[in-house]
């Protein structure tokens, strides 16, 4: 349903008095992925790996440097002026900070109704009915509609954003760290809400997060991103059971296991070093400065993403 091919997004860096371009921040450097209808595609990576930028490119709110995106069979691209209504009807987003994504001077009911109004052709009656249905859908009380965003708690605010995203019955929602800023107890509620919405309305999600356990819970396919590139993609079970890329292995080893005895016993892989610059890209594999298995070929040749095992792609020379 959604296909991304070789997406690249570079941000130019200017220096000096005349703002000459001296380099690029290679936020996204050749990413390809496919999201199927009704599935959740999890995207994990550390801060600064480019996952949010990738999300914004897919949403077509920023122009890409190169690469193409296909949505429901059609090629979509960024335009400063017109956003096709069909795109807004099918593709929506929820963000990490729900409060910032809402107009602080709009009432909740107007916030949720806005996408519907933009699509047009609905009477006030129809909109009210749809609003009530949405309140029920996300678990908001009707009275909340009259309030302003700052009067709501974090969890309630995110519910409003979800209601707004669902208002036009989209088929695809980009979820950029939707629960990272919420209390742990609320997180579970929101995740469950997202899951039930997916089940009942067959929505696909691109679920971006740095929290591996959440991604594990909700995703069908998971991709691991590092420094602008995808280093591993595979169906969830397979990835968590059998991580192939050294980076993935290290990440997974950091997830605490609730059983203290087991926790003590297992191997912890610590990643040394700092995240290298996304500007001056070193030759070879991006991860090699921090990789515990690095060999000489890793410093020379950049590993392509290839299918190492059935439906399990890895970008590593040593696999």
């Amino acid at each position: 349903m959604l296909e991304v091919r070789e997406l690249r997004k570079y941000f130019p860096i200017t220096k000096g008095f005349f703002r000459r371009q001296v380099g690029n921040v290679k936020a996204v450097d050749g990413v390809s992925l496919v999201v199927k209808r009704g599935e959740t595609f999890g995207l994990v990576g550390e801060s600064g790996c480019g996952k949010t930028t990738l999300g914004r490119c897919i949403l077509q709110v920023i122009p890409v440097t190169s690469g193409t995106t296909f949505f429901e069979g059609e090629k979509i691209s960024f335009s400063n002026n017109i956003r096709p209504k069909s795109l807004s009807a099918k593709m929506q987003a929820i963000f990490q900070d729900p409060y910032s994504s809402m107009n602080p001077r709009q009432k909740v009911k107007d916030i949720i109704a806005e996408p519907i109004i933009i699509q047009g052709h609905r009477s006030k009656r129809e909109i009210d009915d749809r609003l009530h249905a949405l309140y029920d859908l996300v678990g908001l009380k009707k009275e909340m509609g009259e309030r302003y965003p700052h009067m709501l708690s974090g969890g309630e605010q995110q519910r409003v954003c979800i209601a707004r995203a669902m208002a036009v019955q989209p088929s695809f929602i980009v979820c950029d760290e939707p629960v990272s800023s919420l209390d742990v107890s609320i997180r579970a509620q929101i995740i469950n809400l997202l899951e039930s919405l997916q089940e009942n309305h067959s929505v696909s999600y691109l679920f971006i997060s740095h929290d591996l356990s959440v991604v594990h819970h909700i995703s069908d396919t998971v991709a691991v991103m590092y420094l602008g590139k995808i280093v591993e993609i595979s169906p969830k079970r397979e990835l968590y059971r059998n991580p192939l890329h050294p980076y993935t292995k290290a990440l997974l080893s950091a997830i605490p296991i609730p059983d203290p005895a087991l926790e003590k016993k297992r191997e912890r892989i610590l990643i040394e070093g700092e995240v290298p610059s996304a500007v001056t890209v070193l030759p070879g594999c991006r991860f090699h400065p921090r990789c515990q298995y690095a060999q000489k070929p890793c410093t020379e040749e950049e590993p392509p993403l290839r299918e190492a095992e059935s439906r399990h792609w890895v970008a590593c020379l040593l696999v």
């Binding site: 914004r56 910032s100 602080p104 709009q106 933009i118």
Partner: protein, 292 residues
Amino acid sequence: MTNLETEQESKNRLRLREVWAFSLREPLGVLGALLLLALVIMAIGAPVWTDKDPVTTSISQAFKPPLSQFWFGTDFLGRDIWSRFVYGSRISLIVAMSGVALASVAGGLLGIFSGLVGGKTDSYIQRFMDSLLAMPAIVLAIIIMAVLGTSLVNVIIAIAIVSFPRVNRITRSTAVSLRESLFIESAVIAGASKWRITIRHIAMNCVAPWLVYCSALLGTAFIAEASLSFLGMGVPPPTPSWGRDLSDNLTRFEFAPWPCIFPGLGISMAVFSANFLGDALRNILDPRLKRI
């Protein structure tokens, strides 16, 4: 569910309650608003409040003290100060309010436009505004009056021209900071057209700082009109103007201090009320965003 009152009635009650809450919380603001109202009433109903002509001179009556036949006394030309006070309020109010109204609308709209459009257009407009802002306001006003000549309309124009870059700066910086915010991005994703975003999202959020600034601007405008008149470059005689009355009588206050005191009081009252109102508005509108 039975509603004992209609939706409209409950909305009205809510608004009334908001006004009451506002009054309790910001007594100074209410004071300012009332003072301003008093000035307006005085200005509009000028002939009601005084039956004496502010313009006729009568040297024999010069420098009569207040609380006599003349409530505020007379000035150096024998003109009744109370009448000049009342009629002078008209000038101050008309000039200040018109000037600020012009400047706030023009500056506000231009600010939003300039802030949103960005790029070279924005740059050029802002450079021009910077040039206007680089000069002290009074100097610019003097230049404008020197070019246009003294008249009521020209004073309004001068005040408007001097104030408008300042309003522009405020709305533009709000617009620019809003432009990058997440809720604008959400609106784009929802498919909002540029118009819709500009009006419903950006402008709506620009109103608060703009309103606060413009009410403070009103205070400055009062002083500006008075200053220009004081320098002889404001409203031409014989129209009563608080500023000019002050300057006319300044050199003569060895004879009598009161012709100076009352116009000054008038100006101060006007400025006070504008400032109080502005402060109160700021307290009301700003923390709303931060209240959780």
